[in-house]
């Protein structure tokens, strides 16, 4: 959006020098451009507020168009003749011959210029509206935090998801009250791995179904929506249980979405094992990834829900800590069930 607006402002700005002269000559031409006239001044004023002569220019243009095809209007002082340096000399001449000869260029370029300016103004207006609407539902900055990853983080996190038993420090580090981005802290949850793993899982499911001659494009869509719906159900159940247990934690819905989405990595491995090594490979991979995922989730959630368990903290174990432990263990225990449910029909 930004690049397009900047790019479209380039030729507009460059062509503006030729437009005043062409506008005056075009008043004798066919009245093709009807729509943007009453809107152009406002749009141009918003698109480039720095250009002071915009509104006057646009107003002049509409006035010229409305005047009728008879008189080539005298150049009024608002049109800067200094800018028509590179200009088209025939545009200053007799309007009839100019329009006949340069019909195509006169018609194509001004119309294209006006269309580009109108389009860029409409695009910026639309972008503002879309931003406002989206900001009402979710905070884009919060979402950007989850996608601030780099390659080193992704590789380390994948290794951690598959072998979490060696990791010592599970704490999410903070810097001035805001959690560190995934780039700087391996314990931070991210949404990049879950979304990529989700797409990979759908493709793998397509391959697996194709190997069994059960493939069709509708099945792919059904598989995708099923997996997504199960994750949404799990996130809602987690939110509900966390609310009931009155936990004061900073686990937002996106955090829970990230933690639930990590099971896609396990699903991918299970399906791969099943495809490569048959049924035995599937169960071995399923067991391994389930254990790793349960351990990973239990440690991560416990660290996030129990700030009092920080070694140097002075927290006292509250009674609600029991509920938190139940929620953590329950969430961890549900993972292999969901993984099994979503993948066993792919490996026969």
């Amino acid at each position: 959006g930004d690049v397009a607006a900047a790019g479209s402002q380039g030729p507009v700005r460059g062509a503006r020098s030729e437009r005043p002269a062409r506008e005056s000559a075009r008043a004798g031409g066919p009245q093709l451009i009807v729509i943007p006239t009453h809107k152009a001044p406002r749009g141009w004023a918003r698109a480039e507020p720095a250009m002071a002569y915009h509104q006057g220019y646009g107003g002049q243009g509409s006035k010229h168009r409305g005047r009728g095809p008879l008189v080539p209007p005298a150049p009024d002082p608002h049109q800067l003749f200094d800018d028509t340096s590179a200009g088209f000399p025939h545009a200053q001449g007799t309007p009839g011959s100019g329009i006949d000869m340069g019909f195509n260029t006169l018609l194509a370029d001004p119309m294209a210029n006006v269309a580009v300016a109108y389009g860029s103004s409409i695009a910026s207006q639309g972008k503002d509206i879309v931003h406002k609407e989206i900001h009402r539902f979710m905070s884009v900055n919060r979402l950007k935090y989850f996608f601030a990853v780099d390659t080193a983080y992704v590789t380390k996190k994948l290794a951690l998801l598959l072998f979490p038993y060696a990791h010592q420090n599970w704490e999410v580090r903070y810097s001035r009250d805001t959690p560190l981005t995934p780039r700087q802290d391996i314990n931070a949850p991210d949404l990049y791995i879950p979304s990529m793993a989700f797409i990979t899982y759908i493709l793998l499911a397509g391959i697996a179904l194709g190997l069994q001659q059960r493939f069709s494009p509708e099945v792919l869509g059904m598989c995708a929506s099923t997996a997504f719906v199960w994750v949404v159900i799990e996130v809602l159940a987690l939110l509900l249980s966390l609310y009931l247990v009155t936990v004061q934690s900073d686990l937002t819905a996106f955090d829970l979405l990230a933690y639930s989405g990590y099971k896609y990595v396990g699903m991918i491995l299970a399906v791969l094992g099943g495809l490569l090594f048959g049924s035995d490979g599937y169960y071995v991979a399923l067991a391994w990834t389930s254990c790793a995922l349960m351990y990973f989730l239990a440690r991560s959630l416990r660290m996030k829900l129990h700030p009092s368990l920080v070694p140097d903290g002075m927290g006292h174990p509250r009674g609600a800590g029991r509920g938190q432990t139940y929620v953590t263990l329950g969430a961890a225990a549900c993972q292999p069930l969901i993984v099994y449910w979503l993948t066993f029909h792919l490996v026969r």
């Binding site: 099945v219 059904m222 598989c223 929506s225 099923t226 997504f228 719906v229 199960w230 949404v232 159900i233 609310y243 009931l244 247990v245 009155t246 509250r318 009674g319 609600a320 509920g323 449910w341 029909h345």
Partner: protein, 85 residues
């Protein structure tokens, strides 16, 4: 085969039915007899309301908040189901 093949539409339908079920629980005729009335839950200003109190709070707030939107959403769903099956 995919035993429970969900679509997003099924999820929306299930959520709507669930919220309807919560909204239908009548305060006087039913919840008080079971012991889940709201006056019995809000006792004291202690730290931990407990799971039962939280549930009662949740039911009451769902009933209060979702009453009017549920009317609208239910009407739309009924019309759509009648038209499109």
């Amino acid at each position: 085969a995919a035993a429970m093949a969900f679509t997003l539409y099924a999820l929306l339908q299930a959520a709507l039915l669930f919220v309807n079920a919560i909204a239908v629980l009548h305060e006087e005729r039913f919840l008080r007899n079971v012991g889940w009335g709201t006056e019995q839950g809000i006792g004291g200003f202690g730290e931990e309301p407990g799971i039962k109190a939280q549930l009662m709070n949740l039911i009451r707030s769902v009933r209060t908040v979702m009453r009017v939107p549920l009317i609208a959403v239910n009407s739309i769903t009924i019309v759509l189901l009648l038209l499109f099956g």
